[in-house]
Subunit: 256 residues, 2 copies
């Protein structure tokens, strides 16, 4: 397919790379940031544009991978033919927003954490799709299947809960990795000690419900350890509050 | 070696299995809970005992894998020869505690999340050791090397920070997995959708510092999404507080 990418962030970068690997053509890459547009366009053998009115008609699909706040303003500045197919990639933006700009639209939401410089194996990324009509759905489905073996239809209503849960299991989890790293660094200890533990914690829930996988002082309400830990954190009110809240959460969700 | 296991919980179970696989002999398994002692002793081809005074002398090492609160009371009820080698496996208990019970003692702390019914590849588990004297250290080191290829000397002071960081990257992380699962279940969505995301979040920090791996609305301080998510959580004050605290934490630790 001939594809135009609106956006040049983490998601646009990894999706763009997956698309050209699947032999699609990226006609243009739009970003208002000249450097971002240029860097990604170069990677994708595409043309960079930094102004919405320079985005040309004629692509089979326009993939809008912009920040939620920017979607509306950029789309309203495009000057494309009617019936242009536009999809967005956002977890928490309802499909209906796109009906203001075209009659053929949809959602292409890849559920993954993307970084610009870490190549992603897109074939395993779950992609959640939605469309204005059945023909458009089939077209988006074909596109999704060309890059991923895990394609699912999902409503905007369900997608927002999926996005919320993803923030907990990915963004917040990564912040706890940062916190672990901070604690070790402060005591000149190497973060690599935690890697096997981090791996096993993630691996466990392939086979076990996380409620059954839970270990540690909070699930046993082992106050001796909890108080020792809070004493170690006593200089840091924010971390102490996080420790207490999450420990209470664990204890309140114990299964036995 | 001839080994006696004090404790029959998650850690004792997986360590015991690793020890017999490495051809050590488990002479006795102590637990005050008859069923636990019996089940683990059967797995380890060992003898169950439920009373501390039935623990016999003669083993090369006594591994105390009890809850922190139970260590002192159980050890004080043992009736063993002087100079018996005793180690504990606790993250937050200083080595000195053992000096009340014997003159040869140490710590054997495996940093992993163990569950009774999930077989653990112990060879990759980082083991942190400490001892009362150099001869004892060498003996504990030999034992550790017989089950793990990742053996490190660590002081009690450093070990408690390691334990604290482990609570963040494992126990709290697993609770966030539970929370993600709860959110999806409430909306009849399958937890399996999150598995590739969970895996990639853990895999990323093998190659990237977690600060560089951070993604999501909080690092961008994308208030539109954050407010949508808080609206979805509005019925749950505790989760709303966790969402807000962790989002603030992410934003305050942004690297750029």
């Amino acid at each position: 397919m001939k594809i135009t990418l609106l956006g040049a962030g983490n998601l646009a970068t990894q999706l763009g790379l997956a698309l050209i690997q699947s032999k699609h053509e990226i006609v243009q890459v739009f970003s208002k940031t000249t450097i971002s547009a240029g860097l990604l366009a170069e990677k994708l053998n595409s043309q960079p544009v930094t102004s919405p009115d320079k985005v040309v008609s004629g692509s089979d699909i326009y993939i809008c991978a912009l920040k939620d706040d920017a979607i509306q303003s950029v789309l309203s500045q495009l000057n494309l033919e009617k019936n242009t197919l536009i999809v967005h990639t956002a977890g928490s933006v309802p499909i209906d927003l796109l009906s203001n700009f075209t009659s053929r639209y949809g959602v292409f939401y890849p559920l993954q954490t993307f970084s610009k410089n870490r190549l992603c194996d897109f074939s395993k990324v779950p992609v959640f799709i939605e469309a204005s009509d059945i023909q458009t759905l089939n077209l988006i489905k074909d596109l999704a299947h060309s890059v991923s073996s895990n394609v699912n239809e999902l409503s905007s209503e369900d997608r927002k809960y999926l996005h919320l849960s993803a923030v907990f299991v990915c963004n917040f989890v990564n912040y706890l990795y940062t916190t672990g790293s901070d604690i070790l660094k402060k005591n000149q200890l190497d973060f690599k000690y935690l890697i096997p533990l981090i791996d096993e914690t993630a691996a466990k829930i392939h086979d076990m419900h996380p409620l059954d996988a839970q270990t540690g002082p909070a699930i046993r309400m082992d106050k001796t350890i909890i108080n020792k830990h809070l004493a170690l954190l006593s200089g840091d009110e924010k971390l102490s509050r996080i420790y207490t809240l999450l420990s209470e959460g664990i204890f309140s969700r114990r299964s036995d």
